[in-house]
Symmetry: D2
Subunit: 335 residues, 4 copies
C-alpha cells in the first residue's frame, strides 16, 4: 500500500526490482547473476526450459518432477520431451544422468532419439527430500562433462535453506544459497510457497544463458506489467533475511509434528527434513485426524498386523501457528 502512488517504469525496470535483485545477488555471492522476477512456478519452468533447449533436446527429470506430473504438459507445449528417471524419493542421481547421456551418445541411432539437453531438479523435491551438497556437486560435474545446464526448481527453496541454516552447527552437508549459485547454471527462488503473495526470482548465473532472456519472458506472457509488485516482495524477503527466517518457522513446526510421529512409533514414506512430512498411519487414525485437519492421503501402504495403513502428506508454512502444530503433535501422540 505504501507504494501505490509511486510512479515507476513498468515491466520490472523499477527501483524495487533493482534493489531486490541487488539483495539476491549479494545473498548468492554472484555479482553478475541476471535476476528476473516471474509470477509463478510453472511459468518459470516453461519459460526457462523452452528458452534453453534446442528443438531436438529434452529435459531430464525425476518421474516425480513437477514438470512431469503437475504442469498439464506445459513443457511439451513448448515442444520438448521430459526424459524421466525413476526413483522413489523425488531425487535423481548424477550416476543416472551419466548413464542416460552415455547411453544416448553411444546409440548408433541417436539421431532418432531426443537428445538430453538439460537437467531439472527440485530442491526440496516434491517428496520433501533434499540434495546434499555432495550430491549437488556431483550432479554439476556430470552436467558440465556433458555440456548441459543444471536447473534447479526452487519453488520450496526457502525450506531447504532453512534446513541448511539450522544444520550449520551440526556440520551436516546441505547446500547453502552460494553453493547452489555456484553449482547450478540457473535456478529460481520460490516466493509463492514461502510467504509471498506470488512471485519467483529466477537467478541465471551462467552468462551463456543471460542474453535476451526478457524476450522469452515476454513471449510466454510472464512479464508482469506492474513489475514492482514482484520487486517489493523480494526486496522485503531478501533485505534482512526474512526469507529464510519465514521458512525456518515452518521447518520448526514440521519438526514438532515429525517428532510426535517418531515418538508414537510411526514410520515415514520418505525421510524428509524440511517442511513436508509423509508419516504412515493406520487408516483409522487418518479418518480421525481428518476431522480436524486438511491433508492428502498419498499412498496406501498395505496392512500391518491386519490393519490397513497409508502414508499422508503433512505440510507446514509461514502461516502455521505454533499452537496448531502443537495441537496436531498432541493429537498424533494420543492416537
Amino acid at each position: 500500500m505504501q507504494t501505490n502512488e509511486e510512479q515507476t517504469p513498468g515491466y520490472g525496470a523499477d527501483m524495487h526490482c533493482e534493489r531486490a535483485a541487488g539483495y539476491i545477488r549479494k545473498c548468492c555471492g554472484k555479482e553478475d547473476a541476471a535476476i528476473h522476477f516471474l509470477v509463478g512456478g510453472t511459468q518459470a519452468n516453461l519459460t526457462v526450459i523452452g528458452a534453453l533447449l534446442k528443438p531436438y533436446q529434452g529435459v531430464i527429470s525425476s518421474e516425480w518432477g513437477h514438470i512431469e506430473e503437475h504442469e498439464t504438459g506445459a513443457i511439451e507445449a513448448t515442444g520438448h520431451k521430459v526424459l524421466i528417471l525413476p526413483g522413489t524419493d523425488g531425487k535423481i542421481s548424477a550416476a543416472q544422468v551419466e548413464d542416460l547421456c552415455r547411453d544416448h551418445a553411444h546409440d548408433e541411432n541417436h539421431e532418432h532419439r531426443v537428445q538430453p539437453g538439460m537437467v531439472y531438479i527440485s530442491h526440496p523435491t516434491e517428496n520433501g527430500t533434499l540434495y546434499t551438497k555432495r550430491e549437488l556437486k556431483e550432479m554439476a560435474r556430470v552436467c558440465r562433462k556433458w555440456g548441459i545446464p543444471l536447473y534447479m526448481d526452487g519453488a520450496r527453496l526457502g525450506y531447504g535453506l532453512a534446513v541448511t541454516a539450522a544444520a550449520e552447527e551440526r556440520q551436516e552437508d546441505w547446500p547453502s544459497l552460494p553453493d547452489i549459485a555456484d553449482l547450478c547454471d540457473l535456478f529460481y527462488i520460490g516466493g509463492t510457497k514461502v510467504g509471498a503473495m506470488f512471485g519467483e526470482a529466477l537467478v541465471i548465473t551462467n552468462k551463456a544463458y543471460q542474453e535476451d532472456f526478457r524476450y522469452h519472458i515476454k513471449q510466454r506472457g510472464a512479464l508482469l506489467a506492474k513489475g514492482r509488485m514482484l520487486g517489493i516482495q523480494f526486496e522485503v524477503l531478501f533485505e534482512d533475511g526474512l526469507y529464510v527466517e519465514t521458512a525456518s518457522h515452518a521447518v520448526a513446526m514440521a519438526d514438532l509434528i515429525r517428532q510426535a510421529c517418531v515418538q508414537r512409533g510411526y514410520s515415514f514414506l520418505y525421510e524428509t527434513v524440511a517442511n513436508q512430512i509423509f508419516p504412515i498411519f493406520p487408516e483409522r487414525v487418518i479418518r480421525e485426524l481428518q476431522r480436524n485437519y486438511v491433508f492428502f492421503v498419498r499412498t496406501r501402504t498395505g496392512e500391518v498386523k491386519g490393519e490397513p495403513h497409508a502414508a499422508v502428506r503433512i505440510c507446514t508454512s509461514w502461516a502455521t501457528t505454533e499452537a496448531n502444530a502443537r495441537q496436531l503433535a498432541a493429537d498424533i501422540l494420543s492416537t
Copy 2:
C-alpha cells in the same frame, strides 16, 4: 491485507473469486458465462487464442493489434499465424473480415493457406478508438456466418465502458458490457490498465468454448496459485461499479486535455474518445512539454508552414490527478 490470514483453497477456487465472478456475470447479464481470472493481457491472449484455434487456423487482427505488434510472437509460439488487416485507426471492419474469409474459401488452393479461425479486436483499440455498437453487431454477424469466434481484448475495456456510460444521455451508439457479452464469444475485462495491481477477467459467454478451459490456463503457466489475489481485486472493482467509476475519472481527465488541444487549434492523428489522445504538435512544442511530462512521440507527420510536426500519445489513468491534467491543459493552451 485484510485477507492475509484467511485459509482458502488455491488456484481460483476461493470465495473471493466466486463472488467476483458472480458480480461480473451480473454486470454482463450472463448468468451462465464462465469467468477465469488471469494475471496479464499477453497471457490472456495467448491462452485464449492457443485454446480456440485448430492447428491450421490463424487469428484475424488489425495490423495494430497488440498480438501482432507487442507480444514478442506469443501467438506464433502457440503455433498460429496472425492474419493482419490494414487500417489506420486500429479497428478492422466486418467487411474486411467477410472479404478475407470469402477469398480464402474460394481459393482452390485454400489448403495451402492458413484458414481464418477467429477474429481478434481490441476495444478501446491500441490507437484509442472505439467500436460502435453497430460496428460490433455487424462484426458478430459476419463471424457467426463464417462459424468463427469473436474475441475482444479488453485490456482497456473500462475506458470504453466509461465512454458508453457518459454517452447514455447523448444517445450515442457505444456498446455496453451486456452488448459486448451478447456479441462476443469471449472477451476479457482488463484490470491491469484500469486500476488493479494486475489481473484480467476472462468472460467466456459461448458455451462451446467453456469446457476444460482451466487445463489451458494451467498449461500456459497462467493459473495463479493464490488465486484469491485476483478474486479480491475484481470483487472490489465489480461489487459497486468502481471499475467504470475509476475509468470515468481517467476519461474525464483526457477530455480536459483534449479540449485544450482543440481550443488551441491542434489536430489529432486519430479521433479518440476514451483515455488516449494523439494530438499533433509542432516538434518545438513537444520538446517544451517533454521537460515536464512523459509521453511517446508516435509519428512524424511532416511540416506545416515550414515547421516540423509530430503526433504524440498522451494517456491518462485512475492515478492522473485533476491538478496535473489541468496544468497540462494550461501548458498546451499557452504554447
Copy 3:
C-alpha cells in the same frame, strides 16, 4: 517409368491416388473412409497426433512405442506429451488404458495433469507381437467409453495381415483389415516397410476426424507435390492383393528361421508370429553368425550354464530370398 509423361494434377488429386484410395476402401470394407497418402511413418504419426489432440491432451502409448522412442521428440514438437504404459512385449492392454483414464478423471487435481486424449498402438508392435482380434475389440470398447480415438500405427501392417491370412484355416483370432477398419478410428497402412519405395496410406474411418485433414498434411510438410508417386505404389499394392502377398513371403521366411531356432532348442525374448524374431543365442553363436549376417543385438539376457546369452533381432522382408533364409536356418541348426 510408365507414368512419367502423364500430365496429372499435383498434391494427390490425380487418378492414381484416386484409384489406390478406391482399392483400399474396398479392402477395408469402408466406402466412406478418407484416404491420404503420406511419405513416411514419423510424418504420419506427428501429423495425425498433432491433428487430433487438443492442446492439453496427450497420447497413450507403450513405453516401446515408436513415437516414444524413435522419433526424436516429433510428437512433443507438436506440443503433446506421450503418456507411457509399461509392458515387456510392446503391447498395451485395454485394462491399462481404463486404469489410466479413470485415475486421471478421479484426480481432484486433474487440471494440473495432461488429459489422455488418444490411444496409439502399433500392429505388429516394435517388438514383433500382434494384437488378437479380441484384444483389439476390448481396446476399442474402452476408447469409445472414454471418448478418445484409437489410432493404429501400421508401419508393418502387411506382416500382421499376412499372419491373419495364413491363420484363417487355423481359426486363430487375428484381426483382418476390415476388423481393423471397424475398430480403429484411424490407422495407416505401411508401405515403406512392406515393399514400397516409400509411402504410408492413412485411413480415417471415423468421420469426426476427416474434415480439413489436408490442411494438417500441408502444414506438416507432408503433402507430396507429385502425389501420383504415392498413388501408383498403393494402386499396385492393393489392386490384386500384392500387399499381403509380399508380406506373406517375408513371414514365411521368418517362419523358416524361427523353426530352426525352436528345433535347435533356443528360446525367444518375445513370442512373435510375424516377420521379426528375437531368439536368444549364446554370445559365442552371435559372434559366429555376425560374420555372415547383419542383425542387432537387443538385450543381454544373462548366463545359462556359465555361458553369456543375448537376444538378437532378426527381420525378414519382401527382399529376403528363400536361399538366404534356408542358409541362415541351416547355420542356426549347426551351432
Copy 4:
C-alpha cells in the same frame, strides 16, 4: 529400377547419397558444406527455419514468400513469426532488411517485439524474378552485419542457374551456384520443380548451422527411410550437369512464349527472365487460350481501351515440348 535389389543402409547413409553430396559440393565449390536430402520444399523450409531461429525470433520474408502465403502456417507451427516486407515483384532489398533490423534494435520496447533472426529469399522468386549477384552480395553484407543467417529457398533454383549459364557471354550479373554458396549461409537446390520425382538438396555452407542437423530432420518427419531414392536422383542430376541442362530447356521454351507476347505487343505484370512469365492479356484472349491451355489468372489489371485485361501465369518445365511451346507462341501471335 536398377538399384531396387541393392542392400544399402537407410536414412541417407548410402553410397548414392554420398556420391550425390560429393557432386553437389563440387558444383558449389564448397568441400565442407553439409548436404542433406529432403523430400519437399515446405518440409525443407520448416525444418531449416525451425532449426535456426531462437524461440523469440522471426524470419524476414517478402509478402509473396512461399512461407508466408502457401505453407498453411507451417513456419508459425514451429513457433515463429514471418516478418513480411512489401514489394511487388517477390524480391526484398538489403535496404529493407537493414531498416527493419535497425528499427527493431532502436525500439526501446524491442523485447516486446519479435526479433529478426533470419532472412528468407527465394530465387527465382514466386513471381519469377531473379536476384542479381550485386543484390545478393548486398543482402549477404547486411545479414552478416546484423548477425543473422541468409537462407535461400531454391525450389526453382535450376531455372535461375539456367539464366546465369545462358547469360555468361552477355556479361550479365546473375549469381552462379558458387556465388550462392558463398553468399548464403544455407540454401536448398530444388529437385521437385526441376525434373525430379521429388527431393530437395539442402546445402549448409555455414558451419555454425551444421551440427546435429539430422536431429531436426528426423523430428520433422523429414528423414526418408530409403534415402537412396533421393540420392539416386541428385546423383544423376549433378554428375554431368543434367540439372541445369534440364532447366535450360524450360527457360528456352519460356523465352519462345515470352517473345511472342512481346512481338504481339502485350506487356507483363513482372519482368521475368526464367521459366515463369506473367503476360497481361485482354480477358477475351484469356478465355480463348484457356480452351487449349491450363494456366492461372493472377490479377485483374483493369481496362485498356474499354477492354478488361488480366495477368496470367504461364510456366514451363523439363516436360514442355518444343512443339507445344511453339504452338502456344503461334496462338498468342494470332490473337
